[in-house]
Symmetry: C2
Subunit: 201 residues, 2 copies
């Protein structure tokens, strides 16, 4: 990937991936959580999902394209045409295959967990054999990727600058609120303190 | 659509759509802003985008699948397997076609604008002919769609309830911050006051 660092930066900052692949000559798309280890992207899916089912049927990788987009702001210009968004968006494509090796799968689950909830993995009850069978982890090598991004104020045509409308940027951000304990939650181990306000940065 | 109301509710609450379609036998996916009028979904694209180019080449609609997902929270269970997300996700599929009629296209642009920035459209300088030519609006009928959603606390196995880890929900939300005026922005018309904290609800 020529712009490898830029691709990885967006992947590491995002929360949700949208994964597209072909089923019966049609494109389908599904949101998935993910994590990254080096140049491998790991997607979390159910074995019953469309991609999980297709990969189990094929017994071979299937081409997929993955997009991760972070919205940073709405860009309000004087003209409709120059309205825009501030965002960071990474797209990668490649062969998506099921992770079959239990050790790699377990490590991938830890990586996905740590991506969303840093440091929590070691506090949870880990997956047992039955649960592993119901889970699908999909690996895509990060070999072909592109990044698109925009930041900064609106760019207006010079002749529009006097148009009587407010212009500027509305910052947007995926943030997390005060954690809501489940009934009976007493332990402080694995409390999600590091999530506060950090999501999607 | 059997669950039409549920599909429309998610579409109306979301901010970004992920649009998947086939190009050269492979699935591609791109994030787009959108708006809805009745049972039509309008996507905003550039004529230079992959979908814009494909549709201009075809001169006919092309099958697409669109997903809009709103993340509402991280669900932290005692076991790794029972971790989840609270979310609302709508997927529709159908023939995606370029809007050719200038009047419908202008109305669709207003609808997309109002979806993201309620009430602002009438304050902006509207698109001129040259700008309209550089814009692509894509229409997909909302005929086939599904909704998936989860809400509420984690559901743990009874035997895991004593596991020494905090459990509960971390609410997540796409929120907007204090607007940042562009240099020279003086008018208060179209000030984005209605966006504050409302995005993504």
């Amino acid at each position: 990937v020529p712009n490898r660092e830029a691709v990885l930066e967006v992947l590491d900052a995002g929360v949700l991936a949208h994964v597209a692949f072909v089923v019966d000559h049609r494109a389908v798309v599904a949101p998935m959580i993910y994590g990254r280890a080096g140049d491998d992207l790991y997607l979390h899916a159910s074995v019953a999902s469309r991609l999980g089912r297709a990969l189990r049927r094929d017994r071979a990788p299937r081409h997929a394209e993955v997009n991760v987009t972070i919205v940073d702001g709405l860009v309000l210009a004087r003209s409709a045409f120059n309205h825009s968004m501030n965002y960071r968006s990474a797209t990668i494509e490649g062969p998506a295959g099921l992770v079959a090796d239990p050790a790699e799968m377990l490590e991938a689950l830890r990586i996905i967990s740590d991506h969303l909830m840093p440091g929590r993995w070691r506090h949870m009850r880990g997956p047992n054999e039955k649960e592993m069978v119901m889970t699908a982890v999909i690996r895509i090598p990060i070999e072909r990727g592109t990044v698109r991004a925009r930041s900064g104020p609106p760019i207006d045509e010079p002749e529009d600058l006097e148009w009587p409308v407010w212009a500027g940027v509305v910052p947007v951000r995926l943030g997390s609120g005060e954690p809501i304990p489940a009934p009976g939650a007493v332990s402080e181990s694995g409390y999600p303190r590091r999530l506060g306000g950090e999501l999607g940065r």
